[in-house]
């Protein structure tokens, strides 16, 4: 890397993984959310990120989408080390996220939400006509049905809201899509819309996906590889075909058992 000049990031891993995390840690004051996360995402794959509540899944996701910086560690995007300055910055580099809370504005309409913070404008005005049209086309393309793109999102069902959030995130043709519990609080029928959408994106092959999930059945349906995160680091990394729901359950149960034993030991010594 003799040719690299200051300010220009060096090529670390050319041609390999689309995203690489090395020794990512995150502290909030005295609280450690992530201790040492090493993660890689291959081009075109769907990576399932599972783990107990508070294991650090969402924290990791919010680092990867530029919402917050890591305390230490390196993020390598397509072979170049990057440090995201903001959500917009990460988005401009091709990373988009769907948050657990969806980041929808109830008071705004479907199309306004789909273009939130990436509105089409002819200065100084927003171009409602073209945004309505494109929102409609995009929703049709991904097979999401809503009563009207002019309806406030407050009036939609949980599944429709989720679908809009996902459809919105693939608007800018991201290279990497981060999904935080895209199937949470959803019925089987509504969940199927999202699973369908993810499968479709996977088939098109332009996007690599990291997906946080609780429901193992859904994880095994769409994910190519699974990472288990425990106590702020990744403790298991296997292709979906080489693991099973039983193995994952066993690992999580073990974690509970260990925690329980530690507590009992602490109580005895107290």
């Amino acid at each position: 890397m003799t040719a690299s000049t200051p300010g220009e990031s060096e090529l670390v891993n050319p041609g390999g993984d689309v995203l690489l995390c090395e020794h990512i840690a995150k502290n909030y004051g005295a609280v450690t959310a992530l201790t040492d996360v090493n993660l890689r995402l291959k081009r075109g794959e769907v990576l399932g990120l599972i783990g107990d509540n508070g294991a650090g899944k969402s924290t990791l996701l919010k680092i990867l989408c530029g919402f917050q910086p890591p305390s230490s560690g390196r993020i390598i995007l397509e072979g170049r080390e990057v440090s995201f300055k903001s959500v917009d910055h990460a988005r401009s580099l091709g990373i988009d996220a769907v948050y657990q809370d969806l980041a929808l504005i109830n008071q705004l309409t479907v199309f306004q939400n789909m273009f939130l913070n990436r509105e089409k404008i002819r200065w100084p005005l927003v171009r409602n006509g073209i945004m309505r049209k494109e929102a409609r086309e995009r929703l049709d393309a991904v097979g999401v049905q809503v009563p009207s793109v002019n309806a406030p999102v407050a009036t939609l069902s949980g599944g429709q809201r989720q679908a809009i959030a996902v459809a919105r995130s693939v608007f800018s043709d991201p290279k990497i899509l981060l999904l935080d519990e895209p199937l949470a609080a959803m019925g089987v029928k509504e969940g199927a819309i999202i699973l369908d959408l993810i499968t479709r994106l996977k088939r098109e092959g332009n996007v690599s996906i990291i997906m946080i999930a609780h429901n193992y059945a859904q994880v095994f349906e769409v994910c190519d590889r699974i990472n288990l995160i425990q106590g702020g680091q990744i403790t298991l990394d296997k292709p979906t075909s080489e693991t099973s729901a039983e193995e994952l359950t066993e690992l999580v149960v073990q974690e509970y058992r260990t925690a329980l034993e530690e507590r009992q030991r602490a109580e005895r010594s107290a």
Partner: protein
């Protein structure tokens, strides 16, 4: 209402989903009104106006009273409300703006009369004072994290103290240097209300048709969500505080020209209370995310008509506030109910 009338309404009413009968007709009428947040307050404003027009005993319709009604009573409420609506929508409030109204003319007067600033430049700095107060409000609220209710309560008192201290509680004459521009701002009888209408149009477009407006709604509707979408929420709030201050300063200058006097009593909490009342009557929620400029405009018109009209028909100023208070409560209850109806209609 007779049975036939009921049936006719039931049969011709467009969507057949709602309840039928008299109650149903009322619900449908309300639903129609409710579709546009502004419609309710518009109807109230028109009804009040007509009430005072029909009451022949007064000279409500005379030109001098109409100027008084629109340019004196209504204009300052409208213009200050424009800033408050944006702040309320993004989840904040500016209690200090009334004292910007009072201090901006003094600031301008000090600059011209004591420091020799040319008139136009002094006016510009008078307006910038409002922007600066907004910046300070933004700093304490956004950067430090003090709730804006407390921040602006504090800056309001500071400004009140500054007015009293620097003016030694004495009024001042409008500096000769700045008199020329006065006719454009306020001295021509209809100038103030023309400003108010133009600014209302601009702010309505900004709220509904620009990124700034949409992001203001987003910041108040879902703060975390707006942040996650990459919206710089702090910048939005800073900006809206500064605009509120700027509008306050502009109203201060209008008042100065209109009354041809700079008075320490011009600054008060009353401006803010009227403006917030207008916004609330017009359908702006205190919880953020919801509000309309047109609604606030007509809310201000309602207040202006009440302030102007009641003394004309012989009602003393004393019970006026009872009516104001009741109007706020009724408007809030109506808004909550209409919102529910609206949402039911859209499902």
């Amino acid at each position: 209402m007779s049975e036939t009338a009921e049936r006719t309404i039931g049969e011709t009413g467009a969507p057949q989903r709602g309840p039928t009968g008299v109650g149903g007709a009322v619900v449908r009428a309300l639903r129609l009104l409710g579709r546009q947040r502004e419609a309710t307050v518009f109807v109230i404003a028109v009804a009040l106006f007509l009430y005072f027009v029909i009451d022949k005993g007064s000279d409500f319709t005379s030109k001098s009273n109409q100027v008084l009604l629109w340019s004196d009573f209504t204009t300052p409420i409208i213009i200050i409300a424009l800033g408050e609506v944006f702040l309320l929508i993004c989840g904040e409030i500016d209690l200090s703006v009334g004292f910007v109204v009072g201090f901006a003319p003094y600031f301008m007067h000090f600059l011209t009369d004591y420091y020799g600033f040319p008139g136009l430049l002094a006016i510009l700095f008078g307006l910038l004072l409002g922007v600066f107060v907004g910046l300070v409000n933004g700093f304490f609220t956004v950067t430090i994290g003090v709730p804006s209710f407390i921040t602006t309560l504090g800056t309001g008192f500071v400004l009140m103290g500054l007015i009293n201290t620097t003016s030694h509680d004495q009024p001042a004459a409008v500096p000769a240097d700045v008199l020329g521009i006065g006719k454009w701002i306020a001295n021509y009888a209809w100038a103030p209300i023309i400003w108010a209408v133009l600014l209302t149009a601009v702010f309505h477009i900004v709220l509904t048709r620009t990124r700034w407006g949409l992001h203001t709604v987003s910041a108040g509707g879902n703060l975390l969500g707006a942040r996650e979408a990459g919206i710089n929420v702090g910048r939005i709030k800073y900006g809206n505080f500064m605009v509120s201050g700027l509008l306050g300063a502009f109203v201060g200058l209008q008042q100065m020209y209109y009354t041809n006097n700079i008075a320490p009593t011009a600054g008060s909490y009353q401006w803010m209370f009227y403006a917030v009342t207008a916004a609330v009557i017009g359908g702006t929620a205190m919880l953020g995310g919801v509000g309309t400029i047109i609604g606030a405009f007509f809310g201000a018109v309602v207040l202006g008509i009440l302030l102007d009209g009641f003394p004309l028909v012989g009602v003393s100023a004393d019970p006026l506030f009872i009516i104001f208070g009741a109007a706020i409560l009724v408007a809030m209850v109506a808004n909550v109910q209409l919102t529910r109806l609206r949402e039911r209609g859209q499902r």
